[in-house]
Every structure is written in C-alpha cells, then in structure tokens.
Amino acid sequence: MKDKQLDTENEELLVLKDVKTSFFTKKGVVRAVDGVNFTISKGEVVGLVGESGCGKSITSLSIMRLVPQPAGKIVSGEILFKNEDLLKKSEDEMRRIRGDRISMILQDPMVSMNQLLKVGYQLGEPYRYHHKVSGSLREMCIGLLKKVKVPAPESRVNDYPFQFSGGMCQRALIAMGIANGPDLLIADEPTTALDVTIQAQILKLMKDIQRESRSSIILITHDLATVAQICSRLLVMYGGRIIEKAPVKTFYKKPAHPYSVGLIKSVPVLGRPSGRLYSIDGQPPSLLDPPSGCRFAPRCTQAKKPCFEIYPPETILEEGHKVSCWLY
C-alpha cells in the first residue's frame, strides 16, 4: 500500500499492469511479453535492460500499440497512460498519441530515416501531422537541429539523410522525437549502432534534453553501462518478464537476482585485472511455450526445486527495489 501512495505522489505517467503480448506463429505461441508490470513517473529516466529476445522491444511496441500484425497480439493487461487505458483506445485516438504524447527513437539511425526526403521535411513531419499545418516549417526545424547541436543547422536542413553521418542522423531523429514535446520518449537502443566517442555525445545530449523538457524516457538497451550513465532507475527483463526493479545506484552496488549479478560480473571492465570472466552458462530461453517456473532456473547456479515449478512473486527488498526470485 505504501508503495502505491508513493507512486501517486510522484505522478504516475505510465502504468503497465500484467501486460501480455504473444506471437501466434506456425510453430506455436511465442510469449514475448508475459505479464509485465511497471510504473514510470513524470520526468523519470528508466532503463529497460535485457538480452536479445527477452521481450524488451516488444514491450515498447506494445506501449505504442505497434506490435507487428497479424502474428502479434496484446493478449491481456492494461497500459495506463495518464490514467487512460491505451489498449481501449481506437486506432484513430492512438494515432493522435503516437509521435505527439509518446514518441520513439529506434536503433539504426540510417534506416530510420527516409532516404528520399530532406532532413528538414522529415523533422517537421510530426508537428505538421499533429497540428494540422502545412508548409516547410523551416524556422522550427532549424530550431530543433540547434537544440540537438547539429552544426550549421541553417544549411543542414536542406540536406538529405545520406549526407548526414550516423551520429548526426541519430541527433536528427532525437530532434524528430522531441518535436512535439512528448510526455514519454521511448529510446530503443539509441546508441548501439554508434561509435564509442559518438555514443558518449548522444547520451550527454539525451540527458540535457531530458533535463530541459522534463519528459520521461524509457531507455531500452542491452548495455548496462549505458543505463548507469543516464538512468535513475532500471528494470531487468529476462524471458518475457521483469525480474528486478531497482534504483540505479542500489542495483550496481547490490544486485539481487542471480541473473543481474551474473550480468554485471560478465562484462569486461577497463582496467580490471585480467583473469577469467564470470560467465552465465547455457543459452537464453526460448519464449515458445515457456515453462511455468522461473525462466532463469535452468541457467541459475542457486536454483532449487520450487524454482523450476512456480514463478516467484515479486519481493520488496527495500524502497523501490523489487526482485522476483525465490532466494528472497
């Protein structure tokens, strides 16, 4: 109860309640998102961490209601955005929310842009659509490019995407994402395709923009280091479920779930003396008809009998730190 009150004080922006998204394929039902609960408050930067195929991208697509059709379907649950259930909205209402109140940045900047349209035109697109205006909106686009620190925005507006470098393209996409001042920005692996030095620049930019606009950000990534750099809270996802939720500082000091512990230990760290890396044996689980117990149990060194049979409930360790594991 206490937890809930706290959340309302912080003004919940987005609440996911037991969301399940499945893909109905010829081989069977793939439970990509299998009962996900979390809350995002206003102005919060939350990291959603997990390996490929753990369902993190499908979670974000479920929020946008853009799950690939016809195979994919949001089976059950509630997605409350400003206390309204997105799953009950019509496609028309959803279209008005997408790109206006919730917007998204995707992984590969080079393919996220239409190569045949000028950057300036594409930047104005979200505003043009949602505010029913036409025209080139040149001044606004220059302003946006300035905001994301693209050099010489006056001439860059007239460039085509192929004239932009990868980092520059990602900046332009961020500009597109924030064009309408969204309440929630979902960034799906925004820095993965970029070089290290550019990565650092983009992360800094996102941090600055967030501080200025006070919009919430969900950062989806496989990289624990990226999360540590800009997020205040993180959610660890494994096998279609969220297994640990924690404030960033607590998480890196005292990770609770054996998977989180292994994940942190298995990343090579600069300057740490060489030796064998800790490695989690086995392969990530298939989400095709997953077992009823803890998804991590087959790879877990501390797994006991109940782990294989019943899915562990969420345990509150301390303020804001929750874990789904039978060890606690």
Partner: protein
C-alpha cells in the same frame, strides 16, 4: 518413436485458423491446409538426436497445397501413362465418327468420353498425349535457358568488374531483341516445330535467370562464409560450386516451377498462331486453334484443351508458390 507413426492431421477446413490471415483461410483450397509432419523432413537429424540425447520434440508444420499438387499429379500421371490410359490412338480417326459430342450429351457415345474432332479423333486421347508435348517443350526451354542463365549469372556476379559488366550489357542487349520476331524468322527458315521453339526460347530466356542469379551471388559473395572459404584456401571454382550455388539453387527451382506454367501458355499461344507444332500434333494450343472454327456447334473442341491448360498451369504455379515458402531457410528458422 518410429517414423512410421507419421502424425498427419488435417485442420478442419471449416474452422478458421488463427495462425493465418483471413485471405489464407478463405482461399484455403488454393493455399492448401496445414498438416503436421513429425520427423519426415528432418529424419536424419531426428535419428541423430535419438541416439544421443533425448529425442527433442521436432515438429515441422507444413501446409500442403492439395489443389496444386492434385493438378500437378494429374498432369504427370497423364504424361507418364499416356500410352496406357488413352483409349484411342490420338492421331488416327474415322471420319464416320466426326464431331461426336461428349458422352453425356445427346448423341454422344461412351466410346469417346470427351467427344471427337472433325476428323473423328478422340479428344480425350489427344489431350492425354498433348500433356507430353507441353511438358517436353516447357522443360526443354527451361533446362536450356536456365542452365545458361545460371552459369552466366554466377560468373558475372562472382567475378564482378569488367566481366560482370560485359555479361550484363550482353543481357540488356539480348532482352531488347524481340523474341517473337526471331521465332518467325527461325520458323520461316527451319520450319515451325517444337525444336525451333525450344531453341528460340532457350536462347532468348537466359537474361532473366542471369540477372536474378547474379544479384543473389553478388550478395552471397560478400558473406563471411565465402570470405572464410577463401581463408581456408578454396579455389574460386570450388567457392562458386560448393558455397554460392547451393544457396541459390532454391531460387532457381522456384523460378523454374513458376515459369513452366507461363511457358505452357506461351506454347499454346504459339501453336494457336501456327508458329509452334504443326498438325497432326496434338498440342493443346493447336487443338484450340483447330477447334476455333467449329466453336458454334462443337464447343468441346475448345473447352477441354482450355481446361487442360488451366489445370496444368494452376498446378505448376501453386506448387511453385508452395516451394518458395517451404524452401525458404527463414521458414525453418522460425
């Protein structure tokens, strides 16, 4: 589990299957229904697993295009057993039996099930023997230009540079030659016949295959496994034959299967125009052409050859479509 217990259950056709689109459900009779195969396609690996660890639940769900395979089966049945099943000689007729209607019509006899033409030849027997001509010519054409196209496409895509440019410009030049006019020419010089058709289209058709094979091998040659084969010391020929070709052979098979349907129509068209096989051949197109003038009072002379063409083309096209889906490696990955 012995392989003999091959699970084979056909989804009820009246129940909508949630895994498929509405279109696939409604036109299920065209696309075919889904059946479960256990250990049929991956029998080898299945046995391997049985010996080693637990036999994993290997299941391959495959839809079977019953209509397409049925049409194709009928076609090949008539090709193979033409001599056995045809009730009469397709080339001999008695003028006394001229233009008899099919058996169920008034005046028809059960001796000639689908009636006779104006020379008294049995339409059914002619149709059955006609399937051989259709298959012979279409397979001949495709074998001819398919081989040429695959070899030139492989060389072009794999060597790149100037060789590639020359072969591709040659292909452009080739495609700009009007095939029908070349056929007229050859028919005028050597006389219209099945051989002329095979040679003309055999020469004309390769750029299409060449371009597709070149495109595929261009992307394949950049793949890391080709680079690794180089590192291991493979010669260019070996890379082409053992690494690139197996990866495009599916595409070629699919193209060929779908192409055959088109060529059967083309041959019929040519025979109809008088450029193809000549009387007394029982080519379907020729039968159409001959029956055309009697259409007002002997409808069976044009209807049955038309149906035969539709059945054969439908069989090849539906099966080709199905093969494309079945042989797609991504299908197996899912």
């Amino acid at each position: 589990m012995p392989i003999s217990t091959l699970a084979f259950d056909i989804n009820k056709s009246w129940r909508l299957n949630a895994n498929y689109t509405v279109q696939e459900n409604v036109f299920g009779f065209l696309y075919g229904y889904e059946a479960d195969f256990q250990g049929l396609f991956n029998r080898k690996s299945y046995m391997f697993l049985k010996k080693g660890k637990k036999s994993s639940e290997k299941k391959l769900r495959v839809r079977i295009p019953y209509l397409g395979l049925g049409c194709l089966g009928l076609f090949f049945f008539t090709v193979i057993f033409a001599n056995v099943i045809s009730p009469h000689d397709p080339y001999e007729g008695d003028l006394a039996d001229s233009t008899l209607p099919p058996a169920w019509e008034e005046g028809g006899t059960t001796r000639f099930l689908l009636g006779t033409d104006m020379l008294g030849r049995d339409v059914l027997s002619r149709l059955i023997h006609g399937s051989r001509i259709s298959l012979l010519i279409s397979v001949g054409c495709i074998a001819f230009y398919g081989t040429l196209g695959v070899i030139l496409g492989l060389i072009s895509g794999f060597s790149g540079g100037r060789t590639d440019m020359i072969i591709m410009r040659l292909a452009d030049l080739w495609s700009s030659l009007p095939g029908i006019i070349l056929l007229f020419m050859l028919a005028a010089v050597y006389g219209p016949s099945a051989k002329t058709i095979i040679i003309t289209f055999g020469i004309m058709g390769w750029p299409y295959y060449g371009r597709i094979v070149r495109g595929e091998s261009l992307s394949l040659k950049e793949r890391d496994f080709v680079r690794l084969a180089r590192v291991a010391g493979c010669s260019n020929l070996r890379i082409m034959v053992s690494h690139v070709f197996p990866n495009i052979v599916n595409t070629v098979i699919i193209l060929a299967t779908i192409d055959i349907g088109g060529i059967i129509v083309l041959i019929a068209t040519l025979s109809f125009l008088g450029l193809g096989t000549q009387p007394p051949s029982c080519d379907w197109g020729l039968m159409l052409a001959e029956g055309r003038q009697y259409i007002t009072y002997a409808w069976w002379l044009v209807t049955f050859p038309g149906i035969a063409i539709v059945v054969a083309v439908l069989g090849f096209n539906l099966t080709g479509d199905w093969l494309r889906e079945l042989l797609d490696p991504k299908q197996k990955l899912r």
